[in-house]
Amino acid sequence: MQVPLYTREGAGPKKRLSLASALIVCALAVPLPVRARIAFTFAINFLYNHILATSRLVLAFIGRQLTHAMIFLTYFLVLGPLALAARLLGHDDLGAREEPRWLSKEPADATDERFQRQF
């Protein structure tokens, strides 16, 4: 059922998110002793007044941690198992198992056309 949320008669409906945030703040504040509650409101004030800057800091921190986690997971869950599977299947793309030897190389293309298209 849709419940209209009004702050005062004639005022616009409150968003559910703002009501939820108010409920959370009140629930956190109720069990605190007086001075702790006042200190808590200092923190809430700071957060609300600097919400953009605070969220940038928090998101930057989360982003850094997430990057580390993604690199870790990619290495151990993707690259590592793939390399092990390839090894089990006998792949040796780098020729690491072969005896060291000189490899023959095609002579360099020294034509004018190659000179025009170096890359």
Binding site: T7, V25, C26, A29, R35, T41
Partner: protein, 259 residues
């Protein structure tokens, strides 16, 4: 303009005015200065307030020049313990009975500051008190006649003191009137850098409480609930202050709060 008998000899004792330094309380102080020979500008400080010493003095010098016949005495009085007592008095019982109204920080604050002002009046033999209440700020208990205004008047009256609201007038522009009196340099100061007064950080909690409560109650229902809740606090104040007066020099609650 003020509801006082100008023949009353108690006027000579002056008036104890709750003074934040803002437009409303400054205009109230100016109006008091037209009647009282001495105006005690009591700025209360407590944990959670940001009170810069220069804030309440911005208009102070101009008021002294504008009303040279009146003696303005400015004080900063600590009131943290009074606030703690008001807020924590029967806290869990009140939470059970009145719900989230226990987070009515602005109501607690004004009750505590008026309590400290009342004690100041009793200690100094002052028979008149005053605040900067204005119209159209009815969400604040002390500026709402259906919540706390009359209750506060009754509290002061119980101790033989008359509480005045010099700025409480329909259609009054406190900023404009203050500017016309030559106290401020511009017509609009509220919410500007010129609005240098006591700043409180607990408004946010009061706002959150109102946001939650007004989803369940209409505004008149909120007024009735807030009045019932704060009435209990005022009764406690009346009782403990009477004990303080009855037992001078003894270790009463008010004596301990005064430190």
């Amino acid at each position: 303009m003020l509801d006082v008998d100008i023949e009353d000899p108690a006027l000579d004792g002056g008036v104890a005015h709750l003074y934040s330094g803002g437009a409303d309380s400054s205009l109230a102080a100016c109006r008091l200065a037209q009647v009282f020979p001495a105006v005690h500008l009591n700025t209360f400080d407590r944990f959670g307030f940001l009170v810069a010493s220069r804030f309440p003095t911005v208009h102070f010098e101009r008021m002294r020049q504008r009303f040279p016949q009146t003696r303005f005495i400015h004080r900063v009085i600590p009131a943290s313990r009074f606030y703690d007592e008001v807020e924590s008095y029967r806290y869990w019982g009140c939470l059970r009975r009145h719900g989230l109204l226990v987070l009515n920080t602005c109501g607690h604050c004004k009750v505590a500051l008026h309590w400290r002002n009342l004690v100041f009046c009793l200690q100094n033999g002052i028979r008149y008190a005053s605040d900067g209440a204005v119209m159209n700020a009815e969400e604040f208990a002390e500026q709402n006649p259906r919540i706390l205004m009359t209750e506060l008047e009754d509290l002061y009256a119980h101790f033989g003191i008359k509480l005045l609201h010099p700025s409480y007038e329909k259609g009054l522009s406190t900023e404009g009137t203050l500017h016309d009196l030559g106290i401020t340099s511009q017509r609009r100061i509220k919410m500007t850098t010129k609005d240098l007064q006591v700043v409180c950080t607990q408004h946010v909690l009061f706002g959150m409480m109102m946001r939650v409560i007004l989803t369940r109650l209409s505004f008149p229902e909120y007024e009735a609930a807030a009045r019932a809740y704060l009435h209990g606090k005022l009764e406690h104040i009346k009782e403990t202050t009477s004990e303080f007066l009855a037992k001078p020099g003894e270790d009463t609650l008010v004596a301990r709060l005064l430190g």
